[in-house]
């Protein structure tokens, strides 16, 4: 099948060799705007890292990096259908050969580099030219609207992709030697109210792997293409290939062309223009000669560029509809500074207790052993084990935003080991982060034993400007309860009495009366119910509970599960391997030094 047709029909999976973040990003933007569900770039072969972060739509994705083609996992390897070679002219030849040896079934590729030696180009033509569609060396690549953006073609700026209507397939093929003019023509087609069937920048080098003739053959056999728009320059004999194809009816669709370079006539000697090929060596290589030859074969070739644009506007186009895109939303997207995965699903907190029935199993030997170790004797009640199990489950992680997780991740990205990174996270635990379970237990114990009324207790705290531990949340409030607190509160129904829990709820009534955010939080509810359970189900006296509080036992119920969470974030960072973390300038406020 015509590889352009194949690109429209099959799944596009691109392997990029070398790095050029702006180009890769533009491909992902094109994919998203074209309505794809996943990026077409499946991997980058660069030696730096394990992954690079890009936007896909408004969100971000990590594209895996590989040090060489050999180490790409099979499941990724199986998908690859196109090569995007972004390496320098020094390495382009070798890496292209290696790519097509590894992916003989690929459809084609693009070589971005300028400065690929002629000898290498002709060798690529010899070994790959007849089998694959390869744009370049040099130029900006290949575009099949809505399907494939292979290179910088069509621009790297979101607004350009949108303005040139790249997601919408049409009937006009754009072929050009010049990368910049390919883009100019793509835009001109869109501005003329038409859309592209495909666009290819052949590249300004002397020996493009896929030649102009072959590109025309593709345009001829492509059922979607109804007309060809061509930009050529002085130098080389390529345009005579079009002339031959038109005369011999091997190309039968309308051609509108502009051949640049009459300026050469203003020079005494022929000048080497921007592209390698742009030098007149023979009389028939002049812009004028080529233009006249095209005309004689039936093509429309404008004298001036504006004239050429007028002719372009006359070409036919079928009906199409552009996808609506909210570009403002895109322009406002902001890069994240840390990437991690979601370790616990907070949307679906499990139900531990339903009515008076315990749903949590509480039969984990591991949890029971932990409790025995901490409490100094085997647990008697299933409720105790089930409660500990539920707390451990809920507290493994609370997202990558929290300070302990952030410290773990930053340490991991600094290249440190597991224990150092974990320690860095654990050392963050204290009065403001995760260390409030024990403090809350102390307040509830004091409240219940001292027979202090909840209102008095709150009053005495606020008088000296202290907060009540176990109370208050940044996000949740009255009317928007914390699902974890809800889930754990169910345990109260399993107990005969629950004075600590009752006291905590009474305190909450007082505080929420002042501010809806001052609800009983996860630390507070864990502390209260653990006190009640240890008292009722395990028979610990008030004095024994006091000893546990003095030994900070209640914080252990946070430290134990959260260590798992920190380790998960550590492992994730090692997998992502995004390199040393640095706070972006705009997120840091630096006070000016005082001038004396």
């Amino acid at each position: 099948m015509n590889p352009i047709e194949a690109a429209r029909k099959g799944k596009i999976k691109i392997l990029a060799l070398g790095g050029h973040p702006a180009i890769v990003q533009s491909i992902l933007d094109f994919d998203f705007l074209s309505g794809k569900y996943s990026p077409s770039v499946v991997g980058l072969v660069t030696s730096n890292r394990k992954a690079e972060k890009y936007f896909f739509g408004h969100g971000e994705v990590l594209i895996p990096c590989y040090s060489s083609i050999n180490v790409i996992p099979l499941e990724i390897k199986k998908q690859v259908s196109w090569m995007l070679n972004l390496q320098s002219g020094r390495r382009a030849f070798e890496s292209t050969v290696v790519f097509f040896e590894a992916f003989p079934k690929a459809l084609g590729g693009h070589i971005f580099a300028e400065n690929v030696p002629e000898k290498h180009s002709t060798e690529l033509i010899r070994i790959l030219g007849s089998k694959y569609l390869i744009t370049g060396p040099s130029g900006v690549g290949l575009l099949v609207p809505g399907s494939l953006k292979l290179g910088a073609i069509g621009g790297v700026d979101l607004r350009q992709i949108s303005a040139s209507k790249l997601p919408t397939p049409g009937s006009i093929a754009v072929v050009s030697t010049s990368g910049g003019m390919t883009n100019e023509l793509i835009r001109a087609v869109a501005d003329a109210g038409k859309r592209i069937s495909f666009a290819a920048a052949i590249g300004g080098d002397r020996f493009p792997v896929t030649s102009l003739t072959e590109m025309l053959r593709l345009a001829e056999s492509d059922p979607n293409t109804k007309a060809l728009v061509y930009f050529g320059e002085l130098g080389g004999m390529d345009e005579y290939e079009i002339v031959d194809m038109l005369k011999s009816k091997r190309f039968t669709k309308p051609v509108v062309a502009y051949i640049a370079g009459v300026i050469d006539e203003a020079f005494d000697e022929h000048v080497q223009f921007g592209h390698a090929k742009a030098l007149v060596a023979r009389k028939d290589e002049s812009a004028r000669a080529k233009r006249d030859a095209l005309r004689s074969a039936g093509a429309v070739a404008g004298n001036t560029f504006p004239e050429f644009l007028k002719e372009l506007a006359k070409l036919p186009e079928k009906d199409f509809s552009d996808k609506n895109m909210d570009m403002d939303k895109f322009m406002k997207r902001e890069k994240s500074i840390l990437s991690t995965r979601e370790i616990i699903d907070f949307e679906n907190v499990p139900v531990f207790v339903k009515g008076k029935k315990l749903l949590a199993k509480g039969d984990s030997v591991f949890v029971k052993t932990i409790l025995e170790a901490l409490l100094g004797k085997p647990v008697k009640s299933k409720i105790t084990a089930a409660f500990a199990e539920s707390v451990f489950t809920l507290l493994i992680d609370h997202g990558g935003h929290v300070s302990g997780a952030v410290n773990t991740m930053i340490t991991a990205r600094a290249g440190k080991d597991l224990v150092s990174s974990l320690a860095s996270g654990l050392l963050t635990i204290g009065p403001r982060f995760g260390g409030a379970v024990n403090a809350a237990a102390e307040v509830w114990l004091e409240g219940v034993s001292g027979k202090k009324k909840p209102a008095e207790m709150v009053e005495s705290k606020t008088k000296v400007g202290e907060l009540v531990p176990g109370i208050g949340h940044l996000k949740y409030r009255v009317g928007l309860p914390d699902p974890r607190v809800e889930a754990l509160s169910g345990f109260a129904a399993l107990l005969k009495k629950h004075p600590y829990y009752d006291f905590a709820r009474e305190v909450e009534k007082v505080t929420t009366g002042k501010n809806g955010k001052l609800i009983l939080n996860i630390d507070g509810v864990i502390a209260a119910l653990f006190l009640d359970i240890l008292n009722e189900c395990e028979g610990f006296s008030k004095n024994e509970l006091r000893e546990f509080i003095d030994a900070e036992l209640f914080n252990a119920f946070f430290v134990i599960p959260r260590s798992v969470g920190f380790i998960s974030h550590f492992i994730e960072q090692k997998k992502n391997d995004e390199g040393l973390f640095r706070l972006p300038d705009e997120l840091l406020f630096v006070r000016k030094k005082k001038v004396k």
Binding site: M181, T182, V262, G274, H275
Partner: protein
Amino acid sequence: MSRIKLTEYRAKKLLLGETYHGISIRQGEPVKLPKSVCFVIKVDQGVKKRMKKGLVLLDQSPAGISRAVSKWRKKGFSRFLAEPLLGHKEGDEQYVSFERVREGIRFMHAKAGGIEIESRPEAVKTFVLRNDFDMKTAAQKTKLPESFLKHALEVFENNFFAFLEINPLVVANGKTHILDAAVLVDSAGTFFVKNSWTEDDIIEKTGNARAEKNIADLAKTSPASFKLTVLNPNGSLFFLLSGGGGSIVVADEAELRGVGKEIGNYGEYSGGPTREETYLYAKEIIGLLIKSKAKRKALVLAGGVANFTDVKQTFMGIIDALSESAISLRKSGVKVFVRRGGPNEHEGLELMKIFLKKEKILGSVYGSETVITKAVDDAINFIKR
């Protein structure tokens, strides 16, 4: 990137190795020549039709060489080549050339070579050499020694030649003698060649303006691309263009509207240069514009819709250069006309517009919604006024 001329000296040294006895004479390098031998002395700077121009002298003694060299130096030449004179019969002169083409190496041969070859194109036979077999066939048909063809092709491949012409090639008693050799090498091969040619063996265009040389130096040290050719130093239209193709379209418009002779320079920058690189490039062109004695002068800052060159970054570099000369530009009534598109187009154009307005040198500013030739059209109307 492009095909560049190698000196005859280096070309022959690569082809003949130790057996070559030519001596390269450069500026300020004293050369000792054996007194007993007769020499050919020639200018070695890729000049076409040297013989007719009197830049080759046969049968010279060392003293004659000194005289010829000092005379040619006064004419501005700087590279010369002295070779022991080789006597031969004119009938032994043949013509061969090799050129890299898409399909392989195009080999051309004529039984009767010499300087008149161009007037007898029908005498030239063409072969395309793709492999050993093609080479052997060509050797048989041309009756050239196979070893000679094989060796020439090897040198061609190993040294990243793009074109090699030997005319005349003297074939006598099964031996070949290379009397003259012209070589174009592929500049992209610079990184790959070893014990071969270097930058020093490349012939630079004669009469290069200083600005051209500065830009060539800039291009050498940047992954981006910079080109500059001075056309009419006293022109009224100066071009600060971007993109290999777009720059020609803009320049074409000037030629098509009949002001080709007014064009001060052609050039382009592309491939995502940094702000600093663009500043250095713009500075040279502004310098040329200021030096021009034309009465009405315009600067055209135009290009297509860039794929990945950042308009804002490059425009900031151009603004840096323009601000250095803003007073002088304003005093001589220069106006700047802009058309450009690409990444960060809006921001770049806005910056430029505000700057040009502030400095009172604003001609017009257009973005990608306007045709690429609009700025140059405005500039032409301005200089014609």
